[in-house]
Symmetry: C2
Subunit: 398 residues, 2 copies
């Protein structure tokens, strides 16, 4: 059965969002901002002497993966085995699965990728899991590169203590079918900068200990960083590669679309905190928007917008209307006093000063946060130019 994107994908003439030629709601990415963000983060990583493996789980969009790789990314990061397959299909030669690998069907996928020559790394934080992986991959005469995950108390995955990590590393080292390849952490769950720095220092120390203790880490990886603390990770690890040969890999994901709320605020902190970030020309720009019609104007000052929880992220603040268009032209209204107050499955209650002259059918463009949860609601994201002409139907693979 045809999907709603198909008619526009196959259109012979240019298709315009503003001319109501798309079914709304629809998610769009502004190409200029996307290109900017891909360039900006790659330049940051280059300046920091670290490799970049953008976290693909944010977008799961093959077209964006290809652009990130073409811009110089070392590889891609993913959250699951299925996502690894998508990353490989997009051309990634190096893939980090930033999670333990669990379940036979998932292991089969990774075995296929390893057999094809993909340089693929998984995290391990559990001896039972290590034994299970070893049994599986050894039976296939494959070696799975493993990163020991260092966590933090009350955090997410990962062993809490260095000693536990060293013990697990020894266990991995001794198992046929596994290859000890370094250390992974995800500092995004830490409470403040001091905690992040301490965590990274511990991870570096752990990696150095592994390197000294005759464990085969000459091609060792040390990897961490989401889109909030990546500058701190870079700052702590900037000399590691030159001094030790350990490959440092940053894995931010949300930077690529950026956003209008959570990551906009986080990036302001990055710019204040990081001299390195300030040296990179320009800055990240929000690239992702969702377009929807004003669906109903049932009371003065209340517009019901035709988009909801199924269309746009609502987990880090309510979606905000950025601009309103009528008949292809932007309405010259100040929207700073407007506010989305309630979101349902397919509707959003948006309150505005009643003196604004709005109409049912006016087209609103909204920004939101956090971006992962907008991306995963769409099978197709429209790449647009700055006039909102469609350039490409970008399929997602969630």
């Amino acid at each position: 059965m045809k999907h709603k994107a198909d008619f526009a994908r196959t259109a012979s003439k240019p298709v315009s969002l503003l001319a109501e030629q798309l079914h709304l709601p629809a998610a769009i990415i502004r190409q200029s901002a996307l290109h900017n963000n891909i360039r900006w983060m790659q330049q940051f990583a280059d300046a920091a002497n670290v490799a970049l493996a953008p976290h693909g789980k944010t977008t799961m969009t093959e077209s964006i993966f290809k652009q990130q790789l073409a811009a110089g990314a070392w590889g891609l990061t993913v959250a699951t085995a299925y996502q690894a397959r998508v990353a490989a299909r997009a051309g990634a030669k190096r893939i980090i699965i930033a999670n333990q690998l669990v379940g036979k069907a998932n292991m089969e996928v990774v075995a296929e990728l390893l057999a094809q020559g993909t340089e693929l790394y998984c995290c391990v934080d559990n001896a039972d899991n290590a034994a299970s992986l070893a049994g599986f991959f050894n039976s296939k005469q494959l070696n799975l590169p493993c990163l020991v995950e260092l966590g933090t108390p009350a955090g997410r995955c990962g062993l809490r203590e260095i000693e536990q990590c060293l013990s697990l590393a020894n266990c991995i080292h001794q198992l046929q079918g596994l290859h000890l390849a370094g250390v992974e952490f995800y500092e995004g769950v830490a409470k403040d900068e001091a905690s992040v720095r301490l965590w990274i220092q511990q991870a570096r120390q752990l990696c150095l200990q592994l390197l000294q203790s005759n464990i085969e880490t000459k091609t060792a990886l040390l990897t961490g960083a989401g889109s909030v603390w990546y500058d701190v990770v870079a700052d702590e690890l900037i000399n590691v590669q030159a001094e030790t040969g350990i490959q440092v890999v940053l894995r931010p994901g949300c930077y690529v679309s950026h956003d209008h709320q959570l990551y906009a605020a986080a990036q302001q902190q990055v710019q204040q905190r990081s001299k390195l970030a300030r040296q990179v020309p320009g800055d990240l720009q929000p690239a992702l928007e969702v377009a929807a019609y004003i669906q109903s104007l049932p009371e003065p000052g209340l517009a019901v917008l035709g988009l909801g929880k199924r269309d746009i992220a609502f987990d880090a603040g309510m979606p905000q209307v950025l601009k309103i268009y009528r008949d292809g032209r932007q309405l010259p209204y100040d929207l700073s006093q407007c506010e989305s107050k309630k979101i349902m499955d397919q509707h959003t209650y948006w309150y505005y000063p009643a003196e604004l002259q709005l109409k049912v059918g006016d087209l609103a463009l909204l920004g939101s946060s956090h971006p992962c949860l907008t991306f995963d609601k769409w099978r197709t994201i429209w790449l647009v130019d700055d006039e909102y002409q469609l350039l490409e139907a970008m399929d997602t693979y969630f």
Copy 2:
């Protein structure tokens, strides 16, 4: 590119969830509960002398639409023009779009469906929208059946006053290209039963007034009801069809999967409130579950589950682990003291009594609420038997 469901869809042997033959996380529907719910609600509607047009937006699953129609549904309800096309493809001859129709691309879809002979109704609550629709459909020599939407103060869409509705009805009646076809309301945003009853009484009164005032409503529709107050709507409107000829149509959606939290509680209220519901044999059963592995056991009493905001609804309470399996067998643990406390994109923090012997790789089945937001996260939902053997890959069309 192949999707993750494809390998299992084309498997030559039976595929079992419990034997780790699926990529997890995965959403499943238990066939026995699905069949039960479809039968139960149809029997309720039959007993109440009202027609049933299940709201398809909940599942957007063609296979489920077909089963609802085969069980006797009068038609299907949807939220958007695109959803209407999916409903028509599933075989619905009567479709209610329970929203205003806005935007040229959306109108084009509806025009196609009308031209094909689909009996399709849209809501209207705005004279500008009526004029816009009239211009469009008249130019195509089509007549769009319109339902005047009666809202409630501080509610969602729909005119707040009966007088406004009568005025809009007159406007619609006079416009070429539109056909006044009745009254629509959605009582799900009301604050209590008394408000719901008052609202329905007003809607009935409005419909009767339209019938008396020479407006062509001999084939009139009066339609409302979500999955929380459908018994009250039925109770208020049970005699309307026999007495007036007005076709009453209920539109619950979530009943079809039911759930473990919000709608489980709502249905308890229905059973207490409604003699009619108690007369229907059996009751609704939760049919929708999401399967995920225990991904990490980093601290005593904390399991990190391999599913998150992208896999399961989290807007009406945290997902709950219902059962845990290891090597295909259910672990005999009492999980009543366990609790999911935090959910991230791809992970859930689940706390359990540390004396339970869990392992990384144990398979958890979770229930959640509300179901619409679990459905829309999946392109394929697996229909399973009571032993979790896969019966069908049901594609969704969000």
